[in-house]
Symmetry: D2
Subunit: 481 residues, 4 copies
């Protein structure tokens, strides 16, 4: 397993083509806007070496029997699934943001199921290829980006009917030694902090979309892969060189638009190629795993609750009954989310490949709650924080000889607490509810791993309405013929 | 294990003193208002003999190694705890009401922990006594009522300061062969369908309340025990002899005020006597188990969802997008409840006695959701049902030669569905949202196993705010001294 | 204006054909189940004679210039509309139930607009006829039932395509002196307490449905009109002869299925006959007025809040911060409803006929909130009431020499408050949240004046999305061509 | 009445001492961060000259009889109050942000009531002074900042017991010609766009706090007044010189900490000086008016709904039933807010001074909803917008020759819509839900005009619980002695 330091060094060896604000980024690792997101991924390496977190952060490879980082592990039991949820909460709490590495873990696990199933039906050899690839990921402790979401163009049309055929990623050429692909993947979390990018189709498909039913993995700096960073609320505060105003001065996340401009993929890295009949299953399995992964928001919720409680103490109102009740409510919502990611794991089941999958219905139910509760937790945090959170002068005003004295005098917190501490904790709440981390805690909670309606469709498919109707009819004496 | 038939026969041998509508009930088992509640308990016996439910409904006694009904079992593993939640949902779905038997199971499990702990501290022999008692409960497959809630009088005063000392049940005399107790327990679910009544104190106590720190079990027909049945919304529809208007024509629940008018309890049935320092723990453990038990409401929710879907089909609107969305929402809420009762079980832990206890924080979080979501599920069911649910004429109008023709003509359901079926399913929804079953599905969900504020207090005690604050401070750069 | 006593006497002179529980009701006015609903209507007569309510309860007829009961008035100003909302709240608070008389007022006002508009387009003389009719209603201070909702049969088909042509009320014969109609109206609130029944079509129609586009008024005891009473939750408690267990021992509501079995209507009572192009407008105007009328639920909410506060005092917990907060929340929701019914009145506008109409958008928004907030207010009331509300023995148990002493001892309220008072207030909360009044406060709030989806459709039609989009585009610099 | 242009020029003549990012701002009017907020205030001048808005934007002075900008008007009727709410919505829709000028209007109106009342009790001459001052405000069409919120220090202590006496603004010296004051006011909306600053006390006070019971008005650039600008989420995007990424490229808001460093106030500008017994009333009246002023958020809600609808159209999903339902829900919430601000105006009453005041209970109920619904509207807007809102590359990426082509290709909107338009509308939604405007639409909605708990306290004081209890008791037959 790599250390955090080794991880950072490994990234320096990559030759990524990254654009931000219209310009190519020369040094990705040290870029002040990107670096906090790299540090968040690095935390997944760091904690794996800490004895107190070993049970959760590491696992035993079912291929090699070696101890590996859990992020590269294929779940072998219900216990593994539950530990994954706990790992998500732990890292969310430690980083206060999106630590980006779960998407690759979820892609690996989904492929471990589906490559096996494709082979069983079509007599192909994807699973063996996949296991070879997986072994190298585990051995080298790589961070993978799992890339699913295509731009999609006109949402009413299937891939092959789109005006621009590239709005869904597809095979444009088949060669003896591999395939050439073109297209793009949007919203790629942690893309430029990854060693590998694992591509999957984004919807269920039919025969006419055969060329779009493609899955493969490539090094993140392969020729033809281009990254354009998305911008976040308050992103440029990181350029100000100040620690207070960023709120979370250590960690962050990022998303990128990833373009595949005629990328060549050798056969041993291709895990699906034309088996459109498994496209839907791959989407569904990845989505279920990834919906479980929103366990991380419980950890970010922990940070926000801790920040709100601290702000209340600094404001001198922590013992007011309405404040205490709001803290209880924040916990109630946050722990309800925790119940969701634990339950879908606890109710997990073994797939033919031997991989354990979460309960798909409950994973969707969990994610649906994630599209709601963090918004209410954030609202309550803003309630407790007070208006100063958004009317507070800048870090530079605090440091300035002309204005610093006024801030020290008039923004003074409860006795004994430095004004700066009060400003710091309020900036953290701002960060999670309005700033860079709000992108992850709120909007990504809404749309990541599928927008709310996607979960509702899955829920309507997965609940057993007939069983419920039978029970109801029996109790009121309706006998169907 | 008894069969349902044997259970019913066993109740006939009891000599209970039961009052209802101001009069003594001669034949409890066949009383039309009480009988459906007895039938619901009987279901816990019936299903234990069905092969398809054996894994969930039965367990292996850790005392005798024999197969026993799970309702008499002491949880020996996390798996046992999870199965308890599934059993609750199963029976809720099969009966559409409160099947009453969980409260005794929860009392037994709480006592298995606390008698052990009392002995460890005080060198008493309660645990051995308890195991003897438990063995006979298991061998005879008894239904126990777990009785905790005292009338409480002035809520601002401890037991020993009350104007009437009996508003908390207490020891009024200590004899060589046992104790004499006086007081009452309110809201006793299923009391007159029970063979045994297990009494526990209702709050944490101090030394001055020593006489109130008492726990014991007695046969339900012991001398001095008097039952006064509570009345429920629509209770007397059961007297009308019609099946349609009761909604659920098979099952129901009941609650009773149980009076202990100087009841003698022999020593071998006393499990706590003066150890006030364990009173709080017994309350807390029982409450946690019993809050988990609200898994049953997920099963009743299944019935209500099934009924709503059926009503929508009969109304000819099942495919309308807003109806489908409301069905999804009902499921979303119902499955979120399921996540809660599964998660608090899955996160359970072993107590010194060997008993597995649920995660207390999550059990409280689960119950808190139960005080909310069933109300919203019920609201949505009423939305889907349509106003006819409350403006529909009676069963007798449907059967009457004068009015039946008009109902057949004008209350006609979707093609092919008899008008009577439509009326039946609407009456079932009425039953669960306004009628006898609403008592269990709504108001008992609110107050059973502790009112909402009780859970909020436990949540505020059990969450680790310091850990959350440490995480928040670290991320925004606050270093406490 | 009639007195309450005169109103009751006037009902005795009617020869209504009413069925309940499959039998014909001999004496409607004194029937114990129906009588409380009659008393609620009588309250609208009684209060009109009280000086302190005169400004709200009475108005000046725009036809005769005489003082009339506001329930027979055509709104002549915004002030009239606002007073209508206040009158609804007042009567809701005084009766704690549905007082039934608003539906006729709303029908009269809608007809005052639409008959005028029909005449303007078609050169007919409906408005004059209507004014003649109205004058007699005002002079005789009549209670009218406004009857709109047909059974509707298959909801996917228009009236003329239904298998049974009568599932929408329609003209079956045209005679020289009038028309003959057949069909039914469902959910008719207060039907058997009315002197008149005013029929309107239930949906917008096209030319093929010409025979269904019919509106008229008939005496409630006209030949061929048959009433079948709907049953309500806990209806038969009124037969028990006890005052406690009914909760609200004075008032109630009722609904009936009204059948028109070939009823002859003379021309001077016909207000629409074939003008299908105005059918939609009549529905919409009536619906808007009637959605405003849900002002009454604010008054019932007042009663429920008052009952909850009283229960909290009797339970000795009124000063607990969480109880106080719940009382605030109940008020917050209730007053938000009040804002809705005031605002749609305050924003009212004059129609060509001179009648003032409410703001249709806001009336729909108001009613939509009514489908939600009373449920939450009821949930909070049950929270505050405590579980005793549904586990409490009967009135007869309290009066019985055998059990009364136990109830007095163990259900004792806070010091100085008789046990019976505690039981009474809890029964009132039960009445409004589960019993007969829950039919009006909850389910009727959901479906009366149109189910929630009906309001959503109107809202989507009435909001000016284009204006909002123009504003948004301007601010972000989008220039459309 | 000034034009927008004249207003801007008038600001250039001020000599304000403003700090931002630790430095003094040389040219306030043209500062790129401040200027959009000035432009929003300017809109209040511009619209007053537009004939279509004249009825709402202007009024007739009750002092001079001249036409004046409504923002300087004292409400003379219920109609005035209703127009104020409409003006707020109009300007919120036109600017999409906080236009800042209502706070001064509310201060003027509150003072018009309270100065009159003080004089009546104490025989002072504040009201005359105030009217003189008001006349000059009206004549010169000035923008006033109403300044209430002190830093407050230890919230458990009254002003005179604070460790630092200046944490509440107070009189430090009384001279023949006036008074000298010291302290600060926090969260001052639009402070540096104002000609005048009107100071009021922030809490009810007792005799010991006499020196803190002070109200006065001063020119915003009076000696000793210092402004430190608060920073907002995404504030520095305005420095990027790009129009797309700011979302709302025209308008914004700002808040400032205003320090009074020994400011001399001449007697003719003092409106309260030591009359602590009226401090509470001034707070309450100002608060009620200002809670009504949150009518503006309905207008911002209009913009957000318009933006969401446009985004849905650009995404090609506007006709999906779940999207349409979410748009309805956004409108439902937004119009419910509108009902609140209309109803509290419509129910307004005349004060002894002749000024019309809003209904205080309903104004508080309205504001309480404002602390909730905008958050849910924002959540729904983010749901509809899609994840691209937060993962979209920057304006510079769109313009760059290297990356622009990729964005054009892969972020393409629905056919015919330029990619740039899609980005613009998403940036506007980001602006209102996470960016600079979220400060106003969300956090200011929470805390402006008093935090939620302040409204709950007022609601509990203003509802007539006794009346509700009397009604409840009567209905269930409880007769109190």
């Amino acid at each position: 397993m790599m250390t955090a330091q080794e991880y950072e060094e490994s990234l320096r060896r990559l030759h990524l083509v990254v654009y931000m604000f219209g310009k190519k980024v020369g040094n990705v690792v040290d870029d002040p806007i990107i670096r906090p997101s790299m540090k968040a991924v690095a935390k997944t390496y760091e904690l794996a070496h800490r004895p107190e977190h070993e049970a959760i952060m590491t696992a035993t490879s079912h291929i090699t029997g070696k101890k590996i980082n859990r992020f590269t592990h294929i779940h072998q039991s219900v216990e593994d699934l539950v530990k994954k949820s706990k790992m998500g909460r732990l890292l969310g709490r430690e980083t206060g943001c999106c630590f980006q590495r779960c998407v690759g873990m979820d892609a690996l696990n989904a492929l471990s199921i589906v490559t096996f199933n494709i082979d069983a039906k079509h007599g192909t050899e994807y699973h063996k290829r996949f296991l070879n690839y997986l072994e190298s990921v585990q051995e080298n402790d790589l961070t993978c980006d799992g890339a699913m979401t295509d731009p999609k163009g006109d949402r009413g049309l299937p891939p092959h009917k789109q005006a621009d055929p590239d709005v869904f990623l597809h095979v444009v050429e088949e060669r003896k030694d591999g395939i050439v692909v073109r297209g793009a993947k949007a919203h790629q979390t942690g893309a430029v902090n990854s060693h590998e990018i694992i591509v999957m189709p984004t919807i269920a498909m039919r025969g006419e979309d055969r060329d779009y039913a493609v899955s493969f993995a490539m090094p993140s700096d392969a020729e033809g892969i281009i990254y354009v960073l998305g911008r976040q609320s308050c992103d440029t505060r990181k350029l100000e060189g100040a620690t207070i105003d960023t709120g979370n001065f250590l960690y962050g996340g990022h998303e990128a638009l990833v373009i595949f401009d005629n990328v060549f993929v050798p056969w041993d890295r291709v895990f699906m190629h034309g088996e459109y009949d498994f496209s839907g299953q791959l989407v569904e399995d990845f989505a279920a795993y990834h919906r479980q992964s929103y366990a991380c928001k419980v950890g970010v919720g922990d940070v926000l609750i801790g920040a709100a409680q601290t702000a209340a103490e600094y404001n001198g109102v922590a013992s007011a009954s309405h404040i205490r009740d709001k803290i209880v409510e924040m916990n109630q919502l946050n722990e309800t989310l925790y119940c969701g990611c634990v339950a879908c794991a606890s109710e997990g089941r073994k797939e033919p490949s031997g991989t354990y999958n979460v309960d798909v219905l409950l994973a969707n139910v969990h994610k649906q709650n994630v599209t709601r509760f963090p918004y209410e937790i954030a609202r309550l945090a803003q309630d407790i924080a007070g208006g100063l959170m958004v009317t507070m002068p800048s870090n530079e005003d605090l440091k300035s000889p002309e204005t610093g004295k006024w801030l020290e005098k008039y923004l003074r917190a409860c006795s004994g607490i430095p004004t700066e501490h009060r400003m710091r904790i309020l900036r953290l709440i701002e960060n999670i509810t309005l700033g860079t981390a709000a992108v992850g805690y709120l909007t990504e909670s809404m749309h990541g791993a599928g927008s709310p309606q996607a979960q509702r469709i899955m829920i309507s498919r997965r609940v057993n309405l007939e069983e419920k109707q039978r029970a109801a009819k029996k109790l009121c004496g309706i006998q169907d013929n």
